[in-house]
Every structure is written in C-alpha cells, then in structure tokens.
C-alpha cells in the first residue's frame, strides 16, 4: 500500500520535474537541423558489388572534434553498430532511439538487370534500351533512397540533445579508419532472436500492467494502435505503389509496342500510332514519376514512422519494464522490511529502480511529445509535397 503511494508520489514529483523542464528548441522534422554546431550529411555514396559505401560528411563547432569539417567512409554495418550501441546503452533507455536505416537492397533491381541482359536477344533494340534505362533509373532511385535513409538516421542522432554527445557517435563520425565492426554472426543473431522473443513476451506481460500515469497510459494505447495502423498503411501504400509502377511499366511497353506498330504500318495510321506512342511514353514517365513520388513522400514516410513508432514502443516497453522492476523492488523492500532483512540492499535497489524509472519516464515523456511534434510536422511536409507533386504531374499530363 505504501509502495503504491510512494509510486504515485514519485510520479507526481516526476511530473512536476518534467513539466518544469524548459522545452528545448528541437528539430521539428526528421532531417531538419536547427543546430549549426553539428551538421551531418552523406555527401557521397558508392555502390559496390555487395556493399554501399557512404561518405559521411560532418561540419561541427563542437570542441570534441579535432577539425571543423571532415568526412569518413562508412558502411551500412557501421550504421547498425551505432544504432545497436545506442540501444544497448542503458543511459539512453529513456529516449526514442532513432530507428536504424534499412539494409540497402539492390538485389531485386540487379536481378532484373541481369534478366534483361539474358533476354536481350528476344526484344528489339529500342525495347532493350528502354528497359535498360528504366531499370537503371529504378536502381538509382533505390540507391538514392538508401542514402537518404542513412542520412536521416545520422541527422536524427545529431539533432538529438543527448545522443549527439555520444562517444560512439563521435567516433563514428570522426575516426577515419575502418571501424572494423563485423556483422553479427549466427550465434549472435540467434541470441538476438531469442532476446526479441523474450522481449515481446515480456512486452505482452508488461503491457498488461496498468499504468498509473494517464499520459503514458494514453501514449501506450495510442502507440500500439498507431503502430499497427502505420504498419498496415505502409504495407498498403507499398502495394499501391507497386501496382502503380506496374501500370506505368505496362504503359511503357504499350508505348513501345505502338511504336513498332507505327513503324510497320504503311498507311497514314503509322504517324498516328507514333504520336500515340509518344503520348503513352509521356504518360508512362509521368505515371512512374507519380509512383516514385508517392513512394518517396508517402510510403517512405509511413515506413519511417513505422520504425519510429516501433522505437517509441520500445521506449514505452523499457519504461514499463522499469516500472515493473520498480514495483518489484518496492515489493522486495516491503518484504525485506517485514522480515527486517537485507533492508538496505532492497532499499538501494528500490531507489535504483525508482530512479531509473523516473529518469526514463521523464525523458520518455519529452521524447514522446517530441515524437508527436516531429511526426505531425513530417506528415504535414510530406503530404503537402505529395499533393503538390500529384498536382504537378496531373497538370503535366494535361498538357
């Protein structure tokens, strides 16, 4: 009973502290940086056979960097390492860890390119060049997207008031040698998997615990739902865009087919066919651009927030975990007091848990609020852009 009270008290105190905290000016967008002291971008990227090398360019006035401006070459694995180091760091338990960028996936595109090479004989030269150009464009788009994802991750970290001060991050940015991080081996992967299973099982358990704080309670239900929705929307938008792309591809092929027809026909229809083919070609370009833009503005946004909400959920999980720990510690303390044994130890652990929980709660609240602001801003930006692009394309089609 007392523990409960204490808990509530603690929370109340915490709430006061949090609300007393001055709201720091923060980046309102994922990749928007208001802080000039540390600016990170990926200035260049090189795609090699099975890896992509990103040139990470940093501009900083922070004193812990040797120079003001420098670049290093990083690979995807190193990004993952950085992310993992954040996740594993207990210090950051109270923060939404920026989601790690997705693995660059050029396999599909490469495969298509290869298939095209094999099927070269079966199509006309025009068709072949057209297809090739298209695939190359596709490849380029994926490449750009990958780069953008990695950049967003770094920017998020750099914009984060706490994470930007992380030592690993600094090393990542500055150390101009290979970080020699290796990918996880099988054993570790298996461990990760088990960890994930345990975590999700635990998450279910923990989720059942009624939160005392309305804000977090609300956030929890919201995030759970939101995450599912975003997941759904993201999958759907992906499918939509894929079919859009397919349609664009079809139009492209129709255009080339019409072109052939135009070249073969001897009547006055040939000119007409050629013209129509041209028209279709144009339509195709616009359609595929629409698809690409939708992909960029909508699907990527949704995907990003899918990961972000996952990260937020993780944060909430960590908080709930801490809460449960704290409650357990309280119980243990009560027991210890009743038995009058190991009271000190129990007290320390209770204090520790309390502290941890409070800390997490405190930062988590801020993080979640930030998350919301960020999200709203990002959605706004992207949706506006999407609408504008759709309009633009539609208008181009009209002319």
């Amino acid at each position: 009973m007392r523990s409960c009270y204490g808990l509530i008290c603690g929370c109340g105190a915490l709430w006061d502290v949090v609300s007393a905290l001055p709201l720091q000016p923060r980046a309102v967008n994922v990749d928007l940086q208001t802080d000039a002291t540390l600016q990170v971008d990926i200035s260049d990227a090189l795609s090699e056979r099975d890896k992509v090398k990103f040139t990470v360019h940093t501009k900083s006035t922070l004193p812990n960097f040797k120079q003001n401006e420098f670049s290093v070459v990083r690979q995807h694995e190193e990004f993952i390492w950085l992310h993992d180091s954040f996740v594993e760091n207990e210090e950051y338990a109270g923060y939404i860890i920026p989601p790690a960028p997705p693995r660059p996936d050029f396999d599909a595109s490469r495969e298509k390119l290869q298939k095209l090479g094999e099927g070269e004989g079966s199509m006309t030269k025009e068709e072949f060049t057209k297809m090739k150009q298209e695939l190359e464009a596709e490849y380029l788009a994926i490449f750009k997207k990958t780069v953008a994802m990695h950049e967003v991750f770094l920017c998020r970290v750099a914009a984060h008031p706490v994470l930007r001060k992380d030592l690993n991050f600094h090393v990542f940015l500055e150390y101009n040698q290979d970080l020699s991080v290796r990918g996880k081996n099988k054993k570790e992967k298996l461990e990760d998997f088990f960890k994930n299973v345990v975590k999700s099982a635990d998450g279910v358990l923990v989720a059942g615990v009624k939160d005392v704080d309305d804000f977090f309670e609300h956030e929890k239900t919201f995030l759970l739902e939101y995450h599912n929705r975003v997941k759904d929307a993201s999958a759907k938008s992906d499918r939509m865009i894929r079919s859009h792309k397919n349609a664009a591809d079809d139009i492209n092929r129709i255009a080339s087919s019409l072109y052939t027809l135009g070249t073969q026909d001897s009547t006055d229809l040939c000119k007409f066919f050629l013209k129509v083919s041209e028209l279709f070609e144009k339509t195709r370009k616009i359609e595929s651009r629409v698809a690409a833009d939708e992909d960029l503005k909508l699907a990527d946004l949704l995907k990003y927030y899918l990961r972000e909400s996952q990260a937020a959920k993780d944060l909430l999980y960590r908080r709930s975990r801490a809460l449960v720990d704290y409650e357990n510690a309280n119980k243990a303390l009560d027991k210890a007091r009743a038995k009058n044994r190991d009271v000190l130890q129990a007290e320390t652990s209770q204090q520790l848990c309390c502290h941890k929980f409070e800390k997490i709660s405190e930062s988590a609240k801020q993080e979640l609020i930030d998350f919301k602001t960020r999200r709203v801003a990002a959605f706004r930006k992207n949706l506006v852009e999407l609408a504008e692009l759709e309009l633009k394309h539609a208008k181009v089609t009209m002319t």
Binding site: H218, F222, E225, Y226, R229, V230, D232, A233, K236, S237, R239, M240, R242, S243, H244, N246, A247, D250, I251, R253, I254, S257, L258, T260, L261, Q264, D265, S266, T267, D268, L269, F272, F273, V276, L279, T283, K372, R375, V376, F379, R380, L383, V384, L386, A387, E388, E390, L391, A394, K395, T397, M398
Partner: protein, 760 residues
C-alpha cells in the same frame, strides 16, 4: 448492287443480241452495210424479245408497245439512230413510267445493231483483237464448230439463266467468231457484227473518238445502257435484287473478249452483286477499256444534260443504288440526282469513275475524295444499330443471354424506321456463319463476332452476380454492337437478306452448329485443321507485289496487335489491382487518421483517405476505359485481321483451283497430242470435248481468281481505311478519357492541399 452493273448489263444486251441474231438469221443474212435496214430491224426486234425473255425482268413491260416502238426505231435506225433513242433516253431519265424505258431498251438494241452494222466497215479494228485473245489460237481449227456449238450453248444457258456457263460459252463463241472472220468471208460478215457489238464496248470506244457517227451511236447506246439497267432493276421486285445480278452478270461477262482477264475482273465482282473495284483494273490496263468507258460515260453525261465526271459516277452508282434501295423514289428524283442520296455505293462509284478518267496516280486523290465522300456517307448513311439490355433467359446450363437489337434507319429497304428484335448470342454467331459462307469465298472481309467464351458464359450461367460476369456481359454486348455496326456499314453485307432478316425478323430459326462443343463445332475444327494443312501445302508464287506486302503487313500487324492486347490487358489488371490497393490504402489511412491524436493531422489523414477513395474510383474508371476503349478495340482488330487473312486464304484457294484446272487442261492437251499422233479420231473427239470443258473451267477459275483478287484488294483497302478511322476515333476517345481522369485527379488533390497545409 453494283456500280458496274450498267456496263455489265449493256454487254449482256450486246451479247444476247448477236447470238440470238445469229441463231435466228444464221449466217445467211450478212449485213455488210448500214443501208440494209431490214436485217438490222430484224435483228433488233428479235433480240429484244429474247432479251425480255431471258432476263425475265421485263415481264411486266408491255411487249407490244416495245415492239412497236422498236419497229419504228428500227426502220429509222440508219438515219436517226441518234435522235429517237436519245429522246427516249431523256424521257427515261425524267421519266415516271416504265414504258419509255422499254423503248429505250429497244432503241438501244437498234442502235447497237446499227453500230454493229457500222462495225462491219471497221473490220480492221475488229480483227485486231483476235491477236490479243489468249485462247484464240487454240480455237482456230475448230472455230467453226465451236462457234455454233457455243452459240447454242449460250442461248440455252441464257435461257436457263445459269450463272456459271453463259460467260464461258459466249467467250468461246466470240473467240471463234473472230478467228472465223479471217477464214470465211461470208460468215465473217455475219459474225463481225456480233463481234463488233461486243467490241462496241471496248474497241469501239476508241473508234468513237475518230468516227463521229459512231460516237453518237455509242452515246445512245451508253445511255440506253444505263436506262436499261435501271429499268431491269426497276422491274424487278426488290427481294430479287440480290439474285438478279448473278443472273445478269454472266451475260455481261462475255463482253470482254479481248483482254478477257481485265474485263472479267470488272465483271467478276459484279457477279457477286458487289461494287466492283475496277479502279485498279482499269488503271492497270488503261489501254482500251478505260478510254472507252470514260468516253462513253462522258458522252453520256453530255446527252443527258447531266454533266461532269462526278455525275457520271453518280449515274453509274445510281443504277446500283436503285437495285439496292427504293427504285420508285429515286426514279422520281431523276437518276442523276439520286445517287448521292444513297450511300453504300458511293465509294465504289468513285473508285469506278475516277480511274476511268484517270490513271493510277489519281488513285490517291480518289481515296481522299472517297474518304470525304465516305464521311458524307456516314451522315447520310444513318443506319444505327444498338445492342442493349442483355438479359439472362433460362436457368442453369441452358441459360443464355438475349440482347435487344435495335435498328434505326431511314433506308427504305427496311419495313420500318425503327425496329427491335431480341437475339441470343448464338444468333449472332449464326449470322456470321451464314455471311462468311456466302461471302468469304469471294474475298470479302466478313466482320467476325466475339468469340464464344465457355468460361465467361458459364460464370454468367451459374448466376454469380459478381463484377467479373457483369464485366463479361458488358464487354460482349459492346463487342456485338460493334460487330453489327461493322456489318451494316459494309455496303454489300448490308444487302444480304440474312442480315436484313437478322435485324428485322421477329423470330429467327435457331442457329445450329455454333456451339463450341457440339458435333458441328468438332467438324468445324477438323475443317479448320485441314484448311491449315492445305494452306501450308499450297505454295503460291505470288505475282502481285501488293498482296505480298499486304499479307506481310497484316501478319505483322496481327502479331503486334496481339502483343499490344496482352499488354493492355495486363495494364487493365494492374490498374484494377491499383484501384483495389488504393481502396485498401484509403481504408487504412482512414484508420490511421482515427488513431492519430493530433486533430489536424487526423483530419488531414481522413481527408487523404477520402482522396484516395476517389482515386480508387478514378483508377477503376480508368481500368474500364482501358478495357472498353482500348483493349476491346484491339481485340476487335485481332479478330478482323483474322478475317483479312481468311480472305487472303480464299484468294489463295481460288488461285489453287485455277492452277489445278490449268494442270488438268495441260494433261488433256497432252492426251490429245498423243491421240492425234496415234490417230484415233473417235477418242480424239472425246478428248477435244474435254479440253474444251477444261478450258472453260480454266478461264472461269482464272476469272474467279481475278475477281476474288479484286474483291480482296478492295476489301483490304476499305478495311485499312476503316481501321485508320476507327483507331483514330477510339484512341482519341480513350485519350480524352485519360485527360478527364487527370482533371479529376487535379481537382481532388487541389482540394486536399489546403487540408495538408492546415496541419499545424
């Protein structure tokens, strides 16, 4: 039914006269000069009778009057061949009664006779052609015999109105005559006229230029020719129109004794009651026939007071039209005025007339004009057919779809202006079967109906009211509508009684043999297989570059269209997918919006969901648009190209038949040579007869082939033109739809933009 009918009918007169003449006054009364009135009149009177009998057209015409007029005319023939007939002629054109017409016929006959008499003087001209005769040399030995034989044949045939034989017989008959000319002077006198009359059309044309007198007579003849043709047609009950030309044309055929090929081309299509495309033929040949016809037509217009080239076209066409449509009405208007009103043959008329006046180069111009005229024609040619209200009748596997076929037309050939019948799908197929059986072998491109679809129909039958079966029914309905429209816009198919029956009759006998799985269907499949085999075995050394190119073009177009169709279909599938995915995205966006706790964002998201919903509709519409405007169009053309190839195949078959006949003839000739050598006169006679028979066949088959060739050519040209027009229209239509949907899209997004901006 035909533009060339008039020329055809005239020749028929010409032909008929001389033979009858020969028979009645068999070589005894040679009329060597114009001054001999008696023979002429005799000739005139008798042939005219014959003519009447033979054609059965003038059955209702007062023969007495005709004869009396004839007598008058005949007496004066030598002096006033020009005046009287011409008067009559004029009457005819302004005319209301039928009698004048008959007079004209008679006058015509007389004129011809007179001209024939003239002709005897022009023997030199006449004797030239024999050299051109292909078969002439073969006939030399037996010219005499054959001549008489064939004359008899001819008359018999004519009487029995056998469509096939007369031309041949007369051909033979004419040929020997010409040969005979050099051999037997007395006989020559007698025969020359006949030859001359025959030539009147071709060679005389040339003479017309030089000999004023003859020109005049020719004029009249020409006029009367037309008048006569009209009259025949007029006298004829409407229903008989289709058959009549067939009877008549063979008679017309013999006309071209010289250059039999070219002219038979001209005559050939006629036989089918189709608007011939002598255009090419004439321009190719451009030697004798063209000028003569041109001249005559020109003359014609002069005397008529009807003028200019175009009028002559119209004129020619008019006669055709008359046969097709309501003679009475048109007659009132006066022949020259009529034609423009009647659409179907306009193009034919132009193609006929223009080449007359010009050579190949002008063809292009013609086409343009033709196109214009066709446009025009579309206005006037207002038969519109709609297929509506598909309705399921019956239950289970015996269920079928019935469609309401509504026809709207002012064409007088139909009883009403608007009429509606219910037809089931197999009726449509049955119509196609009938049409293709009738017209296919002649090289026509018969528009094919949509294929039977067991799967699609089963779905409908099972009664699933889902979108796919509705889609299927709608697709088929539209396809059927286009199919019927294609048929009725085909000038000669429209004339087919089956078409009319299909459109008009309340109850149609159940079409049999259209079931894909029935015994008949199986038989058809076997037939198709054998056809395919024979197609592979027939190796045709194509003599006509045009056809070679065209065939290649058609084949590659077919391939491309198929490819395109697959692509468009996949586009449709993808679009449908897109619409489906958009819908689900819209839903999940709405959910996301409801989950979102920022009010403005939530609102924006639900707005986005709405936009996506609309987009879904848009995509759906687009997919429908793709299907109906584009995919169906292409599918139609894939089927049509199949028909085009079919007509090419028919042409090939005709060629094959011709070649076979030739080979057989060759064999017979060899046998003859052997027998000759072995000196077996009894058998020789038999073989000779056989040879004659085969020669007839060869010429006929050759003619058939040429006819089919001409028809196919014309059909393909027509098809190309139709295709171009159709494609332009449809694709523009399609693109417009596309534009519209884009406009819609803009609207939606524009509405959304402020919402997105309102997110704070």
């Amino acid at each position: 039914m035909d533009t060339t009918l008039p020329p055809a009918s005239q020749p028929s007169d010409v032909l008929m006269e001389p033979p009858s003449d020969l028979m009645n006054d068999p070589l005894i009364e040679p009329f060597s000069s114009l001054t001999e009135n008696k023979p002429t009149s005799k000739i005139v009177s008798e042939p005219s009778d014959d003519f009447v009998d033979l054609t059965n057209n003038l059955a209702d015409s007062p023969e007495d009057a005709a004869e009396s007029v004839l007598a008058d005319v005949a007496i004066d023939t030598t002096e006033i061949p020009l005046d009287e007939p011409s008067d009559d002629f004029v009457d005819i054109f302004g005319g209301e009664t039928e009698a004048p017409r008959e007079e004209v016929v008679i006058a015509n006959v007389t004129v011809k006779a007179a001209a024939a008499a003239d002709k005897s003087e022009v023997t030199s001209d006449v004797t030239d052609p024999p050299g051109d005769l292909k078969t002439g040399s073969d006939f030399e030995q037996e010219a005499n015999e054959t001549a008489t034989d064939s004359i008899i044949d001819l008359s018999d045939d004519l009487l029995s109105s056998n469509a096939q034989k007369p031309p041949l017989a007369s051909d033979q008959f004419v040929d020997p005559l010409v040969d005979f000319l050099s051999d037997a002077p007395p006989a020559a006198d007698a025969k020359i006229p006949s030859r001359a009359t025959v030539d009147l059309f071709e060679d005389e044309g040339n003479d017309l230029f030089t000999e004023p007198r003859q020109t005049k007579s020719a004029k009249q003849q020409q006029k009367s020719l037309f008048g006569e043709a009209d009259e025949d047609l007029f006298g004829e009950p409407l229903g008989a129109t289709t058959k009549k030309p067939v009877i008549k044309e063979p008679k017309g055929k013999p006309v071209p004794t010289k250059a039999a090929r070219d002219v038979s081309n001209m005559g050939g299509p006629l036989q089918d009651g189709y608007t011939a495309e002598p255009a090419d033929i004439f321009s190719e040949e451009a030697v004798t026939t063209v000028p003569s016809i041109k001249k005559t037509s020109a003359v014609n217009s002069k005397t008529n007071g009807v003028h200019s080239e175009e009028d002559t076209d119209i004129f020619a066409e008019a006669t055709v039209e008359l046969s097709l449509d309501s003679p009475q009405e048109e007659r009132k208007k006066g022949v020259p005025a009529v034609p423009s009103a009647s659409a179907p043959s306009v193009s034919a008329a132009t193609s006929l007339a223009k080449p007359q006046s010009a050579s190949l180069e002008e063809l292009d111009d013609d086409e343009e004009e033709e196109e214009e005229e066709e446009e025009e024609q579309e206005d006037k040619f207002d038969i519109s057919i709609s297929v509506k209200d598909p309705e399921k009748i019956g239950d289970g596997m015996n269920a079928y779809m019935a469609y309401k076929v509504t026809t709207q037309t002012p064409l007088p050939m139909f009883r009403n202006k608007t009429f509606t019948v219910r037809r089931r799908f197999s009726d449509f197929l049955g119509l196609y079967e009938k049409l293709s059986e009738k017209h296919g072998p002649n090289g026509f491109i018969v528009p094919p109906p949509p294929e039977k679809s067991i799967l699609g129909m089963t779905k409908v039958k099972v009664g699933k009211e889902d979108s796919s079966s509705a889609d299927f029914v709608e697709r088929r309905r539209a396809a059927l509508e286009r199919y019927l429209q294609r048929i009725v816009h085909h000038p000669s198919l429209l004339q087919d009684p089956d078409v009319r029956e299909f459109l008009e009759r309340e109850e149609l006998p159940r079409a049999v043999g259209t079931q894909a799985l029935s015994g008949a269907g199986f038989l058809k499949m076997i037939n198709k297989a054998t056809d395919a085999v024979s197609k592979m075995t027939i190796k045709m050394n194509e003599s006509d570059v045009w056809f070679e190119e065209k065939l290649q073009e058609v084949e590659s177009a077919d391939q491309q269209f198929r490819k395109l169709h697959v692509l468009v279909e996949s586009l449709v599938v993808h679009r449908k997918e897109l619409s489906l995915n958009t819908a689900s995205f819209a839903k999940s966006t709405a959910m996301l919006g409801s989950a979102e706790d920022n009010t403005a964002l939530s609102r924006a998201l639900s707005q986005l969901a709405e936009v996506e919903d609309k987009m879904e509709q848009l995509h759906q519409d687009q997919a429908t648009n793709d299907t109906f405007n584009f995919a169906e169009l292409i599918a139609d053309y894939i089927r049509l190209l199949g028909s085009v190839r079919g007509s090419f195949d028919h042409r090939m078959k005709a060629w094959q038949r011709w070649q076979d006949a030739q080979a057989a003839l060759q064999k017979k000739r060899e046998t003859e040579a052997k027998l000759l050598w072995a000196n077996k006169p009894d058998k020789l006679q038999l073989v000779k007869e056989e040879i004659a028979e085969w020669e007839v066949k060869v010429t006929q088959y050759e003619r058939d082939f040429d006819r089919v060739t001409a028809t196919v050519r014309k059909e393909v040209v027509r098809f190309d033109k139709e295709k171009a027009r159709n494609f332009k229209r449809e694709i523009i239509n399609y693109l417009e739809c596309l534009l519209q949907s884009q406009q819609q899209l803009i609207k939606y997004w524009e509405a959304f933009l402020p919402e997105a901006k309102a997110i704070a």
